[in-house]
Subunit: 343 residues, 4 copies
């Protein structure tokens, strides 16, 4: 009843066996609902270990839930968040961020899915002018929707620009693990300077586990009500917490992310050898973007699962996952070569 | 690391082993995310089997998520929903229904958590008067927050009253299974006449599985966008679907609910023998409400887990679950007798 | 094309000639739009004179606009405001306060439209409990929807109770002038202890002039954006400001309010002499509430304009205005006597 | 206490004497509040005369109020409106449209403030894809924020494109009168094909008078509640209605708009003779856009009132009004010549 492993998305993959085991471990007996339980305490402790002793962490159901609750804590209805035009919050959440915050998003065109201080400063408009929504948040995605990664010095410059203009920095870290693996740094370093992070477990091998991490703990005030009112408070919280325990306790997050990144690097390396195919973005995390001959796309899609990124440009997106194998990649590259060769 | 089985809530209990097994079964390989997968298809089919061939069903994360998305489909911002003052949507969701719908709730005092046609009609105000929010929805909870159950003829009268006044009927069915088990009827019969139902799996032995069922399929138009915009669309949907497959495929929902109900009946029967204790509501599902001597409460809470319902009245709530045992009940009744005896 | 002066509402009356004159005076030439003009400066100065040197004032279009913008400044989406069940914000604004704030209102039954410390404290629920909306605001109406007035010591006790529970105090002062006239005190004294006031000019003889006054100036931070985003910023602001100049500069507000109050007192005094009629509320401002014989109501309404207050109780509401004359009252009392006599 | 007539905006000008007279005429006696009065009936009749016998019209306070209530009637929370990036609703309403509708705006870059079928079609994205907000509305401004006017055939093509893609057409007609005067057509013709129009009186010589006109009357269902809940229902409605009576009854709207347009044409013609100044947009209504030598701007602003449009480009906006005189224009052109000559 399942399709084989493809390259559609890292949420098409299943759950790592260690995470399923952790869920089963958490199962016996009764515990208090809504997070007043030992698994939640333990997972919270692991977040403090990873992100810093003063952070506040709140578990939620999904990435959109993390983003919209975090943004509610960061901005008011008459404020706006600057983000890349490719940001998940702008493109892929059906208007949820605007709906939940009551505010606006200001999308910025970028070549590679990444903001820069200059792009941020170019998006600051109407400060103090009551007719215009006020800038309050910068939201970046690490690793980005283009599979690119902010280097640590790039992050530092963004944080500096945000601070200079009294903007808060939100990091959509649905794939923060992939960024940290790519940078060879800690999770905290991969989002250094952020005020709040949407941290993703689901794409990294979990079943359903996302978190909002407040690196500025003052911003967490009242957040438990925001989470509840936003319908993001799980009753059987222990099962979300257990997934994070499995991911964080002994480095599963890093093994999963590093493996996915390696498979993407392998895919990019091998695919780029196919004549007529062009890799369009640096492969820094677990996503590969490529332009194919138009007539190669349909046959390739008939055999393998992946998404078009830009129909007009014949650009496709290939995503690797924690469970992608070298054989999966080899088969896929063979398929690509065949499809391109026949096109 | 867990507390023993108490009587705090049916979401303090764990996950039934068949449901954990179904999650594991759903795990191998890749499937499309967001519900375009065989497990979701199968679970949807089971909902059509239970609720009728034309219903539309959408899976969400939690009960509040089910309620707020369903209500968005049923009412506009300038409309209101009539509900018991004890309704979860009014008392226990931190204002989420008002926030998501933009509308109002009109709470009605009831003796037993149940609306009646007369109570509904008494809450219809300001029709056609632009200064007043307009009545559009009746929301009832089956079984109710007081552990009472609408009989099938009571339901029919409510549906009739709603139709007469052009009100839509929403059923918060977080414990619909307990109601059906209590009534000895099907799930569909336990909410007959509803336009939309929030159907709960979590309190009935699941990990995280709730659904919005549109019995009037016309109301489902656009609902997929409402679900996404409300941050209630799971990426790895197969795992929610698999839980419903396990619950619905061969009657696990009924076995779990019937067992919980029996344990509540046993508890009510035995506890009522304790002199000085008064059961305050008919025990028709899996909840027992009792008034205890004031001085008995603290000692009992020191030993067993449960919630105060009404501090001023010394009224407590005891909830049984799918995994409550006769021995749990016997131990608890012993404890109650001791506490009351010493009080 | 107009109906004669009736007793329907103080917004059925026209505009005082001094206010029309002020509008004409403000007309020549160009001024900056949106409040950056000399009339607005002058009106703001008059508000500081009346309410205190540190208050911040913002002009808006109507009473609902004043209430919903003020409440946005006072509460967050997960908070609630305690108000009488008869409050305009609860009964007569089509759900606008909930919609604009995203929060809840908690209505309290009162005998006379007035909250008390005990009623406020009885409405504080679920503090710190994330499932429950949090208490943040007390909203009272001065004078109340029942034409009653909070005495100055009653106000002080309410302010004290609010402060004790860290609640902010909002005063819906659509008829604050009538309250001050009734109490023989200043406008500031009539709402002493409030954090924010919705101050009404329209019912007091203006054309369209309401204001939000922040007695706690810290709460005004960001309010200019709230006003604009709530569509309550007038472009030709000078004409709203000019109305307030006319009302406040030399006591027109007091003359208008005192006159309306006197006419209500006269009406209550004379009407109470009619056998079979009962005045149901103390007549402390410009509204009279009475119970009439059922069969007297329709004939009386055929001759004079007024509203039913409570159909079931045969209770009516009669409102006097700045332009009500003694003759109007005498004619109306004659009509009442006739209708009741014939009933 | 006033500044002399400048070129800042048509809402810097005062109120036409006929409109002040109409307000005074409407003043005597009592009428029902909230629009149940003869002046409102009469103004509604005039709108039906101008826009068609089946239109529904609702009066509101200001342009933002008209836009946000109209858009609520046209779209749901998960939908978006396509508009020029220069649209007032996108740039100048502090996020009010997003806040009131819960939906998104999709801004489109244009050379002249005007959408085209191609621009509209290029903004239709993600149809049927639940992750993406759905296209539902096209909003155009007639005359545009650049002082340009959609020709009647351009309008027809836009209406056709909107219909083809099942999009509703909203016209922000804050300056619809100027467009009709420019086109030499009726108000109805100047917005032909629209489903709903925000019709402005304030910039055309009124004090505070805007209207939402539903050309598709089915869209007006429930709108009276939307208006009230959005705090846009005036209590003393007769005074808004009277302004529209004065504007529409005998063509004052056209005389005012035509005069403002003529003054803009004169200003553009004369200013374009100044060497070193470039008119950047066709002057089709009552706004002139020009690029000046950088060093001319500050001296000119020291003498005359107007706004910068684009700081980076040294582009300014000059707006004429119903009360601008030929002498005002001549003085201003002299000032421009001086400032540019000295720069």
């Amino acid at each position: 009843m399942t399709v084989s492993r493809g390259f559609a998305s890292d949420n098409a993959s299943g759950v790592h066996s260690d995470i399923l085991a952790a869920i089963a471990d958490a199962n016996p007996g009764h515990v208090h609902a809504y997070g007043d339980d030992p698994w939640t305490r333990r997972a919270e402790g692991l977040f403090r270990r990873e992100f810093g002793p003063d952070v506040h962490v709140f578990f939620v159901f999904n990435g959109t839930g993390a983003n919209v609750t975090a943004l509610q804590a960061l901005m008011r209805t008459y404020e706006y968040a600057i983000c890349p035009a490719t940001a998940h919050i702008y493109q892929d959440e059906c208007g949820a961020p605007e709906r939940f915050t009551g505010g606006k998003l200001s999308p910025v065109k970028t070549p590679d899915g990444k903001l820069t201080p200059a792009l941020i400063e170019g998006s600051i408009e109407g400060v103090g002018f009551e007719h215009h929504s006020q800038p309050r948040v910068v939201s970046i995605t690490q690793s980005s929707e283009y599979g690119t990664v902010y280097a640590r010095d790039e992050l530092a410059l963004i944080a500096e620009a945000a601070a200079k203009h009294e903007l808060r920095l939100h990091v959509d870290g649905a794939r923060l693990a992939n960024a940290a693996a790519s940078l060879g740094c800690s999770l905290a370093e991969a989002c250094a300077g952020a005020d709040a992070v949407s941290f993703g477990g689901t794409k990294n091998g979990a079943l359903c586990a996302e978190a909002v991490v407040f690196l500025d703990p003052g911003l967490a005030e009242g957040f438990k009500y925001i989470r509840k009112q936003s319908a993001q408070l799980a009753s059987k919280m222990r099962y979300i917490a257990a997934q994070f325990v499995a991911l964080l306790e002994d480095g599963l997050w890093l093994r999963n992310a590093a493996h996915a990144n390696e498979m993407a690097a392998l895919l990019a390396r091998e695919a780029s050898k196919v004549a007529g195919l062009r890799i369009t973005q640096p492969t820094q995390a677990n996503e590969v973007f490529a332009v194919l001959p138009h007539d190669a796309i349909a046959p390739l899609k008939a055999e393998f699962d992946f998404y078009m990124w830009d129909e007009a440009a014949d650009e496709v997106r290939w995503v690797t996952s924690w469970d992608t194998t070298e054989e999966d990649v080899a088969d896929f590259v063979d398929g690509i070569a065949r499809a391109v060769g026949n096109a």
